[in-house]
């Protein structure tokens, strides 16, 4: 069965890229290169190293921002999940942040922190943290009370309950929150490059657009999407291997 699904994936990819190629040849628009042209541009950037240099720039605020968001986000989420006072105080903030179009804040951040790494890291953080915090706090609060009670009946201390019961039980949801946070952070990183200062991959996009080098522009965009998708799929596989025990049912079924 997995052969069939792989085949179908390849088939649908072929259809999509084929359509792209055809659309480029018609051409749908002067600004729409064919699939082949875009791949050629991609190969060129890959081999002359410019792609790597660009990603080096782009990934810097992304990695730093995600690292900070993950650590802080999980810690805050844990605290919110455990303390009802903290929950009352801080959940609304993150719920508001989650729903608000934070992209509007980018110019403000730029004014406050300049156009360098700091404001880009900030952008990644404000985009990534809310979902990490809310997922973590939700998972912590929804830990089945049965196993918490069991731990207390066997003389578990509060520390035991947090580290041996709540965190392991919450990890799948926390991890999926991390995935969502990372993809939001990605959006933040690209957005800050397109809006704040062109560096890295965002620069390739804006520059090639301005000189009408559309194959390069599309190539860069294609590479971002592919990278993001690959990375997130990798994370999902990692999640499956780490949390094997959790994926096939619950002990109380």
């Amino acid at each position: 069965m997995s052969n069939r699904s792989l085949l179908l994936k390849l088939l649908s990819a072929a259809i999509l890229f084929g359509a792209w190629e055809i659309a480029g040849r018609i051409p749908v628009s002067y600004a729409f290169p064919t699939f082949v042209e875009s791949m050629q541009a991609l190969a060129r950037m890959f081999f002359d190293g410019s792609l790597f240099v660009a990603y080096g720039e782009t990934l810097k605020p992304l990695v730093v921002g995600i690292a900070i968001s993950a650590v802080l986000g999980i810690a805050i989420g844990l605290w919110i999940g455990l303390s009802s006072t903290f929950d009352w105080l801080f959940s609304p903030i993150f719920i508001v942040m989650q729903a608000a179009p934070l992209a509007a804040l980018i110019p403000i951040l730029v004014m406050a922190y300049g156009i360098g790494l700091t404001s880009k890291v900030f952008v990644v953080c404000i985009m990534a943290m809310p979902v990490i915090v809310l997922n973590t706090s939700g998972a912590v609060r929804n830990t089945p009370s049965s196993i918490k009670e069991m731990a207390r009946s066997f003389l578990g201390t509060n520390w035991d309950v947090v580290f041996k019961i709540i965190l392991p039980a919450a990890s799948p949801v926390i991890f999926s929150g991390l995935r969502l946070g990372i993809s939001a952070g990605f959006i933040g990183a690209i957005l800050s490059e397109l809006k704040i200062t062109p560096t890295g991959v965002g620069d390739i996009i804006t520059y090639s657009r301005s000189i009408a080098d559309y194959p390069s522009m599309y190539a860069a965009i294609f590479s971002i999407i592919v990278l993001a998708v690959l990375f997130l799929n990798l994370l999902e596989k990692l999640e499956k291997t780490l949390f094997e025990g959790n994926y096939r049912g619950y002990a109380s079924d």
Binding site: K9, S29, I95, A104, I106, M111, S183, I190
Partner: protein, 250 residues
Amino acid sequence: MKIMGYRLPAMSSLILWGILWEIVGQAGVTFFIPPLSKVFVTLFEVIGTGSFQKALWDTAYAFFAGVFFSIVIGIPTGIMMGKNRLIDEMLLPWVNMFLSAPLTALVPVLMVLFGFGMKSIIITTTLFAIWIIILNTRAGVMQINRSMIEMARSFGASPMDAFFKIYFWAALPEILGGVRIGVIRAVKGVIIGQLLISIVGFGALFELYSSNFLMAHFWAVLIVLFALAFTISEVFAYLERRVAYYAAKR
């Protein structure tokens, strides 16, 4: 959280934060944070102005059009995917991919293909919202109990009847949930579209105010936008609650 035995309502800490905002603003700690009171005053001033009304109209138009398309295209797609295995296997990887891909990266493509106007913004909005609507609709359809489908057939229901009287209601809780999340994403989409594509609507106002350091105006508009997004989301949450009584027991 309880004070003296009274349970405090869920979002009420925002009042506390509001007071904090006022204090910090009055203290003049940073010019980025004007007093909340000033923001509200500005809000009421700004709402009546022509430029605000136009911005609201531009944004609302793009937003509602985007949401409309994402629902009208997304729900049927999700239903088809939920019912037909072949379609599902072909489309699902793409839907999942676009759900987590940084859609912002696609905006330059849209600009190049569809120009710098309203069309691109609407398409951006649709793109931001549609994937979660598709996925949730699909999930809603897939969890419909086999026996309900068999029951419909055993009583000779026509396809139209089956769809409108049974499947639609059975999948509705998930569909509503998906639309609610989609609506929030659509708000982000429309703002990001406006910031990147052509500076119109609220995006324009944000740019204008921030570059002229009119912070009170900036926060006022952000609050209005957020209030609108929240209201719409709550409308859907209300609808979800109305169907919740049967959602858990299907």
